[in-house]
């Protein structure tokens, strides 16, 4: 029953959502709405699970004095600081109001850390472009040329370069980048989109019918 009940649940919920597109009235519409609300709560609990699991792993690391256990203490303390500030010292349900302690932590700690983590990627993309981007064959060369046109065309530098190459107004690199984005890019992305959607539809059907069971994990 450890696997059978989840399979039945998947089939019932999945079929409800499929059929409610065609019969949105009671009771299917009501069931779909109810399952949507359940999903929202289960999703929230899943993220809570992730946070609590992080706490569990960090506590375990400190207890067993594993490598870099000091930083696990930093993780635990920072988690507790924002949780205590959010629950008890930020006005309850108005915890995100500008000026609360939670808001202060968001603006001055979370926000810069998150933004900087992603900003580091700029350096890595430049380094990777220099080391790995090689025009080894015709296809790679076309990829590179398209990238150059788009990178130049989407900046004001394209005007300067186009004037240098005596390109008339309306027939410049920015116009070429518009063509690439609105036609060639759309064609390729559309092919990818259609291909993915076909694969996704068949996988979804397999999951609902219980043929695909990998999401249940091992026994």
């Amino acid at each position: 029953m450890k696997r059978e009940i989840p399979l039945i649940l998947t089939a019932v919920v999945g079929l409800t959502f499929v059929v409610q597109f065609f019969i949105p009235h009671y009771p299917l519409g009501f069931m779909a709405d109810m399952f949507s609300d359940w999903f929202s709560i289960v999703a929230a609990c899943a993220i809570w699970l992730g946070a609590l699991n992080l706490l569990k792993i960090s506590l375990n690391k400190v207890y067993k004095k594993e490598k870099d256990w000091f930083f696990a203490i930093v993780t635990i303390i920072s988690f507790l600081v924002i949780v205590i500030a959010g629950f008890f010292f930020s006005g309850g349900r108005r915890f995100q109001e500008p000026g609360t302690n939670f808001d202060w932590l968001y603006i001055n700690v979370y926000s810069p850390l998150s933004a900087t983590m992603f900003a580091m990627l700029a350096f890595y993309v430049a380094s990777a472009s220099y080391r790995a981007f090689r025009a080894r064959n015709a296809q790679a060369t076309i990829l590179l040329l398209a990238a150059f046109v788009v990178m130049v065309g989407r900046t004001p530098f394209s005007d300067w370069l186009s004037n240098l190459l005596f390109m008339p107004e309306g027939w410049q690199i920015s116009n070429l980048s518009n063509i690439i984005m609105n036609f060639f890019n759309v064609a390729g992305q559309r092919a990818i989109m259609i291909g993915i959607s076909l694969g996704l539809i068949s996988t979804a059907l397999r999951i609902i019918l219980g043929i695909e069971r990998t999401y249940l994990g091992g026994d």
Partner: protein, 303 residues
């Protein structure tokens, strides 16, 4: 000559990092003015919004986090500024938890009356939260705009809003009061009661989900601002008419600033953006020249 190219190929990556840092930093101090060309996709968004009647209610779905702030925050600010100046009311929600807080930041940035408050009928109204002033126009919380906050559930939140807004968002973010208490929410029972959706998206859930549910299922027109990573992937929706307009990346944000008539952060950032692009292109060209120069020599030695 070959040794120079071999040294170039083996260069320490920290030198590349330093060059990129300088390429992006130096233009900040130069104060160069640049001209931004408007693309059709941004013009389409602007036309879609400017054709909305006065008082129309727009759902602003802020689906991004601080990691995408430089691209999407300027678009959010330009959008809010335009809506307030043109008497368009807006309801802020988020499918990402950080989204509604980013929206609060954008409202505070757009607000021109800093550190002020007023008293009306015994209520103290603070500028920047209760009242947003843009030029001679004012927007009042609960009447002209509202922030309903975040809900977990990704696309199922959009699905739920299709039948009942209240079931998805029972109370507002700022005051924690039931949504039916607010003027702006009168007559807004479900998603299709909105005239337009303005989605700012950095990934999943985002524009793709809004198109699939809000546009195709509940027939609400949608315009989107996306990070540059995601923008190429949603161009097919623009071509098929499922999206009413698209701003892609910082360039899109700069175009929106120009078209609404208020040049700000994104326009300033484009100078550094231009320099960064030039240097990445130079790196690729130099890397390829060095590669082919050394590969030729290696090939002749039979290695």
């Amino acid at each position: 000559m070959r040794k120079i190219f071999e040294k170039l190929l083996a260069i320490d990556r920290r030198i590349i990092f330093l060059v990129i840092f300088l390429a992006v930093s130096v233009p900040i101090f130069l104060g160069i003015k640049i001209n931004i060309k408007i693309t059709d996709e941004v013009k389409a968004f602007y036309d879609a919004v400017s054709n909305l009647p006065s008082g129309a209610r727009i759902m602003v779905a802020c689906d991004f986090d601080p990691g995408s702030e430089p691209e999407l925050q300027p678009m959010t600010e330009s959008g809010f500024r335009y809506f307030i100046q043109n008497k368009l009311r807006f309801v802020i929600i988020g499918l990402w938890p950080q989204g509604p807080m980013q929206a609060n930041k954008a409202l505070a940035a757009v607000n021109e009356a800093k550190d002020e408050f007023t008293v009306e009928n015994g209520d103290t109204l603070y500028f920047g939260t209760d009242l947003i002033v843009v030029g001679s126009d004012t927007a009042r919380y609960g009447v002209d705009f509202i922030n309903l906050g975040f809900q977990a559930g990704n696309e199922l939140v959009i699905q739920r809003m299709g039948s009942s807004l209240k079931a998805a968002f029972a109370s507002d973010l700022r005051l924690g009061r039931p949504i039916e208490d607010f003027d702006i929410m009168r007559g807004l029972n479900k998603l299709s009661d909105f005239e337009f959706i303005y989605n700012l998206s950095a990934g999943y859930p985002g524009t793709v989900e809004w198109v699939q549910f809000a546009v195709d299922r509940f027939h609400v027109p949608c315009g989107a601002g996306n990070t540059a990573v995601q923008a190429p992937q949603v161009y097919p929706y623009l071509d098929s008419g499922q999206l009413s307009g698209l701003m892609g990346g910082m360039k899109g944000a700069a175009e929106l600033e120009k078209v609404v008539g208020h040049k700000a952060k994104a326009t300033m950032f484009m100078v550094s953006q231009t320099a960064a692009h030039i240097f990445v292109i130079l790196f690729i060209i130099i890397g390829n020249i060095a590669y082919f120069a050394t590969r030729g020599e290696t090939g002749r030695k039979g290695l």
